[in-house]
């Protein structure tokens, strides 16, 4: 369909930051010949418009009259390739959400012009002698997401997509009768159902019993509902481990901790989208952490963005709707400096992944108006094919609205975004292993978000909730309507009319509408008498809402399109028909040894290397791209200190603007320990999350935790054995800390099948990871802490005992070793440390607190000094150790349950009184002179300026570095 084309570009005398950024990207990718890049925004408008109308909208809306100009091209006009330059034009692929186009149509309406079809594109005019192929190769990932966008070289889009082909509305049956297991498995694989032979047989038996074949839509529904993503079949399965039979791993471990502890502040756990915890007499806070690994591996920007959008909807759909107040995110990548030749075929480069993920989180979280307040980033070679993207969200809701229940007769109301082909098979895809071809095969599973549509849905839902207009709510996540309606209908029944679902474009088959994972959609159960008001509120909030069907009481899931019945299934079978899975697990500890290292002669140099490790170094470049202030609840920020550039241990929020009551949010994760002992990894994750929380003022006795697993192929007994071992260690410690698990999630099968040069294959498995997120509720945010040194002359107190635990440490990593002595947690000592330090902080005898983790004491001191812009002098001879330890171990050991406190000299007595029996030692003091001095008694081990340490710590991930100096001139 031909269209008007409007190019909008910066006036010649104006700067073009978008063009400049594109130039930096191209040159950074090795296209040195690129001499300059100018950017253009492009718009397509239906050919029905008159030229004068096109110019009117361009002038009034599309073009900034101050710094831009525009050029209008007649429909069908061909674009002459610019002189001595290539033009790269990036257009959304057909069917991909283009929110800007909708805003253009809205502007047409506001101007009283005919609302015609609209589209957008972006053009870069690249000067310099560059080969088209090279340019295209870089642009694919550097300037575009070729999973969802197409790139035109030296040509411009000549029109808008025409009408889609009519949908296939026939009810397809899939005969299973008599098929053998192999055929069933093949059928599952080819259909992207991710069901195993066992499960396919159960389905076959069920429909044989009914004497009919399942329809395609019924089969798809079962695949979605039974997917690992939705059902967690592995963690809820039966596991044979070391002669024991563990029935339902999740129930008997994680959930059991919560049940045993039975803490009174737990309002609702494991039954809803998110765990709900008492905040004050009126309100509760809820929290959920999700993973969005597979989509982010294929398309980092869209994958991470929709991950954020998804977990926000989880919280919005908790209880009878919670208001999201904070995002957290934790990423695991391969090192961003990975050499090109070490990048397996089919993987994106980790730097590309990191940049995409960060902007994806930024461009969804910020427009939603939800602050991203806490997170961390971890690096390991084995994340190259499976980067991990953990996204979390916290919400607040009246405790009276903590529980939901749909009733027969309630209307099924779908609101928010429209349904398209995006995200078909996301849930099942996320249960499969990635491989070289995944990117091309699974493009369909990638979704593109539209945060403003979600914002409108959020505003509408919260407005309805305030008027108590619905009896149940859930979000459309994995599996789309099929999971959302299927879950809500459990124990009831439902009739759905798919033709009522608003579509982004024509041509969707009923089964596609049913399982599409198009974003920004919520489902409500609305009592009939409240329906009109719900639709009224949605209208007022500019949020599209339709009645999709009705909840019934016959326990059947009936899905129709017009009069054709595409699904009529027993909900009992859908929810309970999944055969129990029995898995073999075993654990054999790896044979490792401590490295034989020559005595360290340059501790200052070693510290510089440790501070410059990607895992340790400053994440300011990432943090500052996130809005961490919106909602005005921030009382403890992600960066702290005199210049707000020191690392914070946790986020402190006061979510109710007229109250000082708050929450402290922190996390703990160290994938490297997993390579030595998954039990160590799990314990340390929990202890670190708790240390971080306590250091910032969290109350260890009013803290809940979340467990988020990312693991390899659990069909491999050793891999599953590692998971069981880690889980049991984690649960043992959590029980001891009296910190209940309130929510969790697992992402299994994080393996990448890489094709090698010789045509062979190699499986890259991630180190097993459990991210522990901690949320503490505190009475007064004014009694919280930061890590930056405050006062020269203060004493520095190291709480806890240091052991010979360099296994998995950053120090060993910088020397190219792993080691064997991974840190373990001494349960009793650890709990006493957490409570002792909390008492001391509440008693007001602490000026600054920081937990010791990666890089040990030496790094912790440096980080606190960087925040405070003052120096410190440390004597390691005085610290409490477990047996004799050399100076290097004292400086770099990563023993857990240790915090460094800054204490005014005259408060040392109070400190001791509050620490009770907890071992501690005064190890030095804060100095006016910005110098870091580490000694062993009289012998100086290292001396370097804080500025020196700061530079090492800041440089590695300061991706704007070049720009900063540029703009600084």
């Amino acid at each position: 369909m031909q269209a008007w084309r409007i190019d909008v570009l910066a006036r010649a005398d104006q700067l073009d930051p978008i063009g400049d950024a594109a130039q930096r990207t191209l040159r950074a990718a090795g296209l040195e010949a690129v001499a300059g890049v100018r950017s253009r925004r492009g718009y397509l408008l239906g050919a029905e418009l008159e030229r004068t109308q096109v110019e009117a909208v361009a002038e009034a809306v599309l073009c900034d009259p101050v710094v831009e100009r525009f050029v209008v091209h007649e429909p069908g006009a061909t674009a002459a390739a610019p002189e001595g330059a290539h033009s790269l034009t990036i257009v959304p692929k057909p069917g991909v959400t283009d929110p800007v186009a909708h805003s253009v149509q809205k502007a047409l309406a506001d101007l009283g012009l005919p609302v015609v079809a609209a589209g957008t594109y972006r053009t870069y005019d690249v000067e310099g002698e560059v080969a088209t192929e090279q340019l295209l190769a870089v642009a694919r990932k550097g300037l575009a997401n070729d999973t969802v966008q197409q790139i035109l070289v030296d040509s411009l889009p000549d029109g808008l997509p025409g009408a889609s082909p009519p949908p296939d509305l026939t009810v397809h049956e899939v005969p299973l009768q008599g098929l053998d297991e192999a055929t069933l498995v093949a059928l599952s694989r080819d259909g992207g159902l991710a069901l195993d032979g066992h499960e396919m047989r159960a389905i076959q038996a069920h429909f044989d019993g009914l004497g009919r074949a399942p329809t395609r839509l019924e089969l798809e529904t079962l695949a979605q509902t039974w997917s690992e993503h939705c059902k967690h079949k592995t963690l809820t399965g039966t596991v044979q481990f070391e002669g024991r039979t563990i029935d339902n791993l999740l129930k008997s471990t994680i959930a059991n901790v919560t049940k045993t502890l039975d803490r009174d502040f737990c309002v609702s756990v494991f039954v809803d989208n998110a765990g709900i915890v008492k905040f004050d007499d009126v309100d509760s806070v809820c929290i959920k952490v999700e993973t969005h690994n597979r989509p982010s591996a294929i398309e980092p920007f869209g994958g991470a963005g929709t991950g954020v959008g998804g977990v926000i909807r989880d919280v919005l759909g908790t209880g009878l709707a919670a208001r999201p107040i904070a995002n957290t995110d934790v990423f695991c990548f391969a090192p961003p400096d990975l050499a090109a030749q070490d990048l397996p075929q089919g993987c994106l480069h980790p730097l590309t992944v990191m940049q995409g993920v960060v902007s994806g989180v930024r461009d969804y979280g910020n427009p939603m108006g939800i602050p991203t307040v806490n997170g961390s980033v971890h690096f390991d070679e084995n994340f190259v094919g499976n980067p991990l993207v953990y996204v979390g969200n916290v919400g607040i809701l009246p405790t009276a609205r903590a529980h939901k229940k749909a009733n027969p007769g309630d209307k099924i109301v779908a609101l928010g975004g429209r349904t398209g082909r995006d995200g078909i098979h996301g849930a099942t895809f996320s249960s499969l292993e990635l491989h070289t071809e995944s990117e091309s095969l699974s493009g369909g599973a990638v979704q593109i978000g539209d945060p403003i549509t979600e914002r409108k849905a959020m505003d509408a839902v919260l407005a309805c909730a305030d008027e108590d207009l619905f009896s149940a709510i859930t979000d459309c996540g994995a599996g789309g309507f099929s999971s959302a309606v299927g879950e809500m209908a459990e124990g009831l029944g439902a009739v759905v009319q798919l033709e009522r679902a608003p579509l982004k474009y024509d041509g969707l088959a009923p089964w596609e509408i049913w399982i599409s994972e198009a974003q920004e959609r919520m489902v409500l159960a609305v009592p009939p008498e409240k329906l009109d008001r719900v639709l009224e509120v949605c209208e007022a909030e500019c949020c599209e809402a339709v009645v999709l069907g009705t909840f019934t009481d016959d326990n059947r899931l009936v899905v129709k399109h017009e009069d054709a019945v595409h699904c009529d299934m027993d909900l009992g079978f859908l929810h309970d028909g999944l055969p129990d899975r029995v898995l073999e697990a075993s654990y054999v500890a790896p044979t490792l040894s401590e490295p034989e290292l020559p005595a360290e002669t340059d501790h200052a140099g070693a510290l510089r290397q440790v501070l410059a490790d990607f895992g340790v170094c400053s994440k300011e470049w990432i943090i500052r791209q996130y809005d961490h202030e919106v909602q005005a609840a921030s009382a403890g920020k992600p960066l702290c200190g005199v210049r707000e550039d020191g690392p914070a241990d946790a986020a402190v929020l006061a979510p109710k603007l007229d109250s000082a009551r708050g929450v402290v949010l922190s996390n703990g994760l160290n994938p490297r320990y997993s390579r030595i002992d998954p039990a160590s990894m799990a314990e340390c994750a929990l202890d670190e999350a708790m240390r971080n929380s306590v250091a910032a003022g969290g109350d260890p006795d009013y803290t809940v935790v979340l467990d988020n697993y990312c693991w390899g192929n659990t069909r491999d007994p050793q891999c599953l054995g590692e998971l069981v071992r880690a889980t049991e260690a984690l649960c043992d410690l959590a029980t001891h800390y009296r910190t209940p698990f309130v929510s969790g999630k697992d992402s299994l099968h994080n393996e990448f099948r890489a094709t090698l040069e010789d045509g062979g294959e190699k499986t890259i498995r991630i180190p097993g990871c459990i991210l522990v997120t901690a949320m503490s509720v505190i009475p007064d945010v004014r009694r919280t802490m930061t890590s930056d040194f405050k006062r020269p002359g203060s004493k520095l107190v190291l709480v806890g005992v240091t052991k010979d635990e360099l296994g998995g440490s950053v120090y060993y990593k910088t020397k190219g070793h792993l080691g064997r002595n991974a840190p373990r947690v001494d349960k009793d000592a650890a709990r006493d440390v957490l409570h002792g330090v909390h008492r001391a902080i509440q008693a007001g005898c602490v000026l600054a607190a920081h937990d010791l983790s990666e890089g040990g004491l030496m790094a912790a001191v440096a980080e606190m000094a960087i925040g405070g812009k003052v120096g410190a002098s440390i004597d390691v001879a005085t610290m409490k150790t477990d047996g004799a330890l050399d100076a290097t171990r004292r400086l770099f050991s990563e023993s857990q349950s240790r915090l460094l406190l800054e204490v005014a000299p005259d408060r040392m007595g109070d400190l001791e009184a509050n620490l009770h029996e907890v071992p501690f030692a005064a190890v030095g003091e804060v100095t006016e002179a910005p110098l870091l001095r580490y000694c062993d008694g009289a012998h100086e081990l290292a001396a370097l300026s804080v500025a020196d340490a700061e530079a090492c710590w800041k440089r590695p991930l300061d991706l704007d570095g070049a720009l900063v100096t540029e703009a600084g001139r």
Binding site: V61, V66, E629, K790
Partner: protein
């Protein structure tokens, strides 16, 4: 006169309405949310208010360019009502995206008595969104409520905040004729174009504008995120140095003064 009424504008994508609402109430105003849809349907609603506040956010996703779609909607469907509101003694305040909206609407700097788009807020030199605390100084300007010579710290959080005119001379005029109300300053307190003290690279460090009669103010950084003492990034140091926290954060002054001015009018 009784407490001034502040209209807190809501629209798809505006997301700082709660804190703006609260800050105005804390300053003694009575805040009321009004959705743009409702205001377009009943423009006369404006007359019930003394203050019109356009909060920050991403109105309509900042599609096309920041604030453009909402500004266009208001221009096309409210016409000069906003202008009349201001001329009849009302006060208007745009923060961040709200500032972008008022600029695109032509209400800022509005050197004459008609809506005219003469400046823009465009992409930061870094070409990405950035959230960081900045130091600002209020200038001697036409603004009838913003005290001059104040040095305050507010957080900036935007991707399109570089205030530009057709040419540099026009920028200088904004300064000389008292339309530039707020500037980014460096540690020495001097206006700066230097990153990161100036987060977006705005020439002459202009961070906020007022209009010809000084009744409209627009700022890129957020007083609505710095009005409580615990909003300030180093409140713990203040507590340590002074033994107590001040009653307000640095952003509160602008809400107080605006409400005071509105009250004086009535």
């Amino acid at each position: 006169m009784s407490a001034p009424k502040a209209l807190i504008l809501r629209a798809p994508g505006i997301n700082c309405e709660r804190e703006t609402h609260h800050a105005f109430e804390r300053a003694g105003a009575v805040s009321e949310y009004v959705h743009i849809k409702k205001l377009l349907a009943q423009p006369e609603l404006l007359d019930r208010f003394q203050i019109l506040s356009v909060p920050g956010g991403f109105s309509y996703g900042d599609d096309i360019s920041s604030g453009r779609v909402l500004a266009q909607e208001m221009k096309a469907r409210l016409g000069d009502r906003v202008l009349q509101f201001v001329d009849r003694g009302g006060l208007a305040f745009g923060i961040c995206n709200g500032f972008q909206v008022l600029v695109r609407l032509g209400l800022l700097p509005c050197v004459s008595d008609r809506l005219e788009e003469t400046v823009t807020l465009t992409h930061n030199l870094s070409n990405h969104y950035e959230c960081r605390w900045v130091t600002l100084k209020t200038r001697t300007s036409r603004c009838v409520f913003l005290p001059e010579g104040l040095t305050v710290r507010w957080p900036a959080a935007h991707g399109e905040g570089r205030l530009m005119t057709r040419d540099r001379a026009a920028l200088q005029t904004l300064l000389d004729e008292g339309f530039a109300a707020v500037q980014y300053v460096d540690e020495a307190g001097a206006p700066t174009e230097r990153y990161p003290d100036n987060p977006n690279g705005a020439p002459l460090g202009i961070a906020g504008l007022t209009n010809h009669n000084g009744r409209v103010l627009g700022v890129m950084p957020h007083p609505d995120r710095s009005y409580l003492p615990t909003h300030m990034p180093n409140w713990r140091r203040t507590l340590l140095d002074d033994g107590a926290l001040p009653a307000d954060g640095d952003g509160m002054v602008v809400f107080r003064e605006m409400v005071r001015a509105a009250r004086a009018e009535g």
